[in-house]
Point group: D2
């Protein structure tokens, strides 16, 4: 990186778990990649006690309880939006209008339409607009993209993708903002499928149309733990939908937050005419790949899915481990992301932009609409 | 079995691979279960040379080249339909009209409507009407049905099912009847998905509505091996669809005959509120099961999917192997089927009846229709 | 096969489960391979009631309760020894001395020394001498042998092999001949490891020296089910040993009959300088293979163990199934064995001869000796 | 932690990759556990240029090229030995003699005898003596230890353990200190098996006697990359040995540095009378466990190995991830280790002491001796 590069001053909105994770990632990017450490200029949180503590612990120069100050502060270059989902749109919009670079956790907003506004506005302003899709940085997904882009899998025919967890299987878990339409927009779709869709967008490109189906397994939940009073759950527990990509690929996506036994089952299979690849995030370090060419020799006797262990030759891996088969952590994706973000401020390209964010949110919105209209909907 | 039971006289239509397999299964049922051996009375095939040889080799008393003789012969009790698909409807119908018991390979016909006619006619005639869904006899699927029926999996929420092969991936494979709409009706749907649907019907019951999408990857094929002349492929290479069951379960089904690297990938996952089960026919002898109750003890530290190896306590297994972990063959399903069929002639219950056959064919027809209308279609 | 070949007349000693399995296999070999059916001439068993029933059910021409009549009968060409282990030596020896072809279940005797006598005698007599090592006929093991023989795995460095079951884990299971030294010779070693050793002999050749260790987990057992009277178990529950092959390969073998959770865990890994292969009989239809050459391209990014599904191009498979990924049964190995045996009578080569049987028994004896002497022992 | 606790001043010997990793771990322990950050007082390395850079980058107060200064410096409380193996003994010994706490990478020395001297000296001095066995901190191994200690696996019968890599498979890789007896002591045994032995010691306790076998696959290597001049490799490429524990458990251990296809294959199976556990470090986040009690209900139909995904209820995991199935990194073990070490300085207990280190080294020495003497050797 250039020695003369201006130091980046960060304004963080949201001093909770995610804000802390981002700040740690900025630091780790410095240690691991030698990136210039950004200046931690200003942090805001509605909770004054929390923001005071976090400011000191994380090392921010100043704090405020008013997020508007962050997006308007002349000494902030990059606004980091790490708040709950329902605030994203307003915050990002004002930050962009003030000409700030923006790094926001997904989703950009609660609807495809609003996210589209943000993506267009970011382009108009010419600022860095980074959406926090961690899975895009996973060396496994980067490897799969390369397999697709280099043609090793041939013409892609189909994708099957699932993201299942059972964290909300217990009906005694109290209701939260995730269960409320006004606060979360959607349930499993926005929370889980969106991660699959970011990887889909990254690897396979635009989805043209969708049709879905959903299910609500636990229709009410206690208003708080142990309470006998229940409130309605307004967001879907699981949803499945068919997709047709602009390229003609067809596929199916499913997510469930009540998938008994599944913990972090982010799983997909992509089938091409020359090869097929399978990935399961619960076994983060391995990718299954089949090459049709293996069947063209010795009467197909030696062909089979290869269990490829991630190694330093796969993008990103070498920064964390020196040899294949050694476990990297999911948190390392956050470090790779912070590095890519910091490089983007110097003009380097990046995939997880607001355009990707808007497209993902647009698919989620179209799926929701298709469930209501019982029709195929364009994304 | 009753000593006074009248011996069953079989009339086989179709002396090819499947007819031979059925005849071997009748014999094996005798050896393994001690069933009375049926009388192999009459066999027909349009190919005179083939039927002569087969008749002798398989041990049939008489042969003919005219299948109508089989379904009208007074010395035939059970008509076994083992011909290509497009002839099934006509043959089964005439056999039923002549009051014969009928054992037919799936599908019953090329459309849900015709299969419904046969199912109703069979009920009216009160004869044994057995549809050859081998997977229903698989001890693994019987085990899964028991897990569902006994409530061990709780309320079923969802199914994901796939049957993928890559047998037709090579574009140089010549066109066959499977590629022609008039002869096969459908492609991957009727050939592969129907197997999944039989197991779905067996375990989860009726599907109410579907919507699908399909893809034709190899649109033309040589008219014969090595020919430069090509003909149009009229049936889908792969298809995916969403389902809603009458019980409220939702799900997705996919099949492909060009799924690179997949050989006999009959795979499904059924998620219930108390447990989840996963089965893969490529590992025929093992079933993955997760019980939520395992997570209720010791802070969920010992919970995980169990790899259950089929053993003599699973239905059907004990007739073939004395201990867990010893491989049974897919052909053993045909023996179990022949046994169940022969028992049915003495009044024993059986699941794979024409009603099941008609329901499976009706789902396939509804999926095809939904692809054309781009609407949800009732089955 | 020659039309003029003299029909083979079989004399079976032992009308129990194994004798029945052999007889069924002779029949199946006829159906599947078109082998001339042998004449089932004479069957003997000490239990008169049993031999009468078996003779009729299995279709033998004559029966006797005196096995000596079988080995001396002029109308018997091939003596089939299917009795408990402790009788093998005497029966085989007399059969050979009478110039009969012999097919015996393993082990040939209870010691390497006696088995050596039989192997030498068989050679001297020039008769067919076939030892029933079913695993040698497994298409998976045949495939591994080809990988080794063709050099695809390079120079073999090492083998790790295990055969574990937990059938005898329950201490309430009553004592049987398998627990008595005089009747069984050894425990897990002779019962389980011998299967591994047959495959080792088939694929890797002669073992030069061994040293072992053993454990007796359940030292006494009820004299019969439910009895409070206990008797001493005299044979080992588990044993592990190191080996050095004549070729320089080193390795380790283990078997246990009290291996909690293991059912039919016949598992081995063979590492060569160009590739490694892993096989697990509980997943009979798949072989894991790694080729170093896969790592020589594209920076080793696509290299990994291949999960090869057995298919019709692997020796023996095509006789049972038409496509990859369809389950064949372990019983199919017995059919392949019967076929090879019948072919051997016409002069075809076969691997599982008494020489192999003697070598396997000699390794078992050497391991037992090494446990006593606490020294490396030559096989 | 106590507010009044004296800050710990660290003196690091060795400014290479491992020294850097240790320093990062001290920092991370502070961030993740809130441990008081130690003072990075002094760092030494024979390479002056390197130690200057490292000192600045890592943040040490002072540097030197003479390690003796570190172990004698009055302002150093804890000596961190991160140099190549052959220097460990001398450095640790002098540090102990100067009354320092010592944290050393394994092995403590190149022989069991020397390591015994260090373990005894450390006890005599009453200082913290921590040996860097990272695998002991792995939540998976901690979980297995708990399964053993709580009796969930019953009486342990046997262990099978392997640590295989293929990093040195390529014969063109130049010779290094790892290939020289005087510098490395042993090959795969000390480099790889020692990791298995630390976990074995942690979970199963003391080994009483061993006998081994070894192989040298690549007897010479280029003196440097590309050179045609070769030098002798003096340390084994692979070794296997039998063990008998003081408790009566028997087992086998193997390691290879030329195990084609294996990358980080740290794998073990422990069989007890009530359960069996299998762990593979290449799938760091999952443990396979079988409980015999699962087979005691419903006719053993639901029993099978459970695939347990590590979750926050397993020791150590919760500090890194909030839910099951999310990947933690192998580097996180180093953080857990640094935390345990810093806690030890306040009197907290720790398992990886010099006693463990000496026992591991003593087993390695006994195996080496047994290979020479061809006798069982006491550890």
């Amino acid at each position: 990186m250039s020695d003369t590069k201006k130091e980046v001053r960060i304004g963080l909105i949201g001093a909770g778990w995610m804000g802390k994770a981002h700040t740690v990632a900025y630091r780790n990017a410095g240690v691991i990649f030698g990136d210039d450490l950004p200046i931690l200029e200003l942090v805001s949180d509605v909770n004054e006690a929390q923001v005071k503590v976090a400011s000191k612990l994380l090392g921010y120069n100043r704090w405020t309880t008013n997020w508007v100050e962050v997006v308007t502060d002349p000494d902030v270059d990059l606004v980091d939006v790490s708040t709950p989902n329902s605030m994203h749109f307003e915050m990002i919009k004002l930050a962009l209008e003030n000409g700030k670079h923006v790094f926001s956790e997904k989703p950009l907003s609660l609807s495809g339409e609003e996210s589209r506004i943000l993506a267009d506005l970011a382009k108009e302003k010419g600022v860095v607009n980074y959406c926090g899709f961690s899975n895009v940085m996973n060396p496994a997904n980067q490897y799969v993209k390369e397999l697709v882009d280099t043609g090793k899998l041939g013409k892609i025919m189909r994708i099957h993708a699932t993201y299942d967890q059972d964290m909300l299987l217990d009906p005694e878990i109290a209701i939260t903002w995730r269960h409320k339409k006004a606060l979360a927009g959607t349930g499993a779709l926005g929370d889980l499928t969106s991660h699959l869709l970011s990887v889909s967008q990254f690897i396979l490109g635009d989805i043209e149309e969708v049709i879905g189906i959903e299910s609500l397994v636990i229709p009410t939940r206690p208003v708080e733990v142990g309470s006998s009073e229940h409130a309605d759950v307004e967001t879907e527990d699981l949803a499945t939908f068919l997709v047709r990509y602009k390229s003609g690929i067809i596929g199916d996506f499913t997510s469930s937050r009540v998938a008994t036994g599944r913990k972090n089952y982010f799983y997909y299979e992509i089938q091409g005419t020359e090869g097929t690849v399978v990935y399961d995030l619960e076994r983060m370090g391995e990718v299954q790949v089949y090459f049709k060419s293996d069947a063209d020799v010795d009467n197909a006797r030696d062909a089979g899915f290869r269990t490829v262990l991630l190694n330093p030759n796969h993008a990103g891996f070498k920064w964390f481990q020196p040899a294949a088969g050694i476990a990297i952590a999911f948190d390392d994706m956050k470090t790779l992301q912070a590095h890519e973000l910091l490089q983007a401020l110097s003009g380097a390209p990046y995939a997880s932009d607001f355009e990707m964010g808007a497209k993902v949110d647009s698919v989620v919105s179209a799926v929701k609409k298709s469930i209501e209209t019982r029709q195929w909907e364009t994304c």
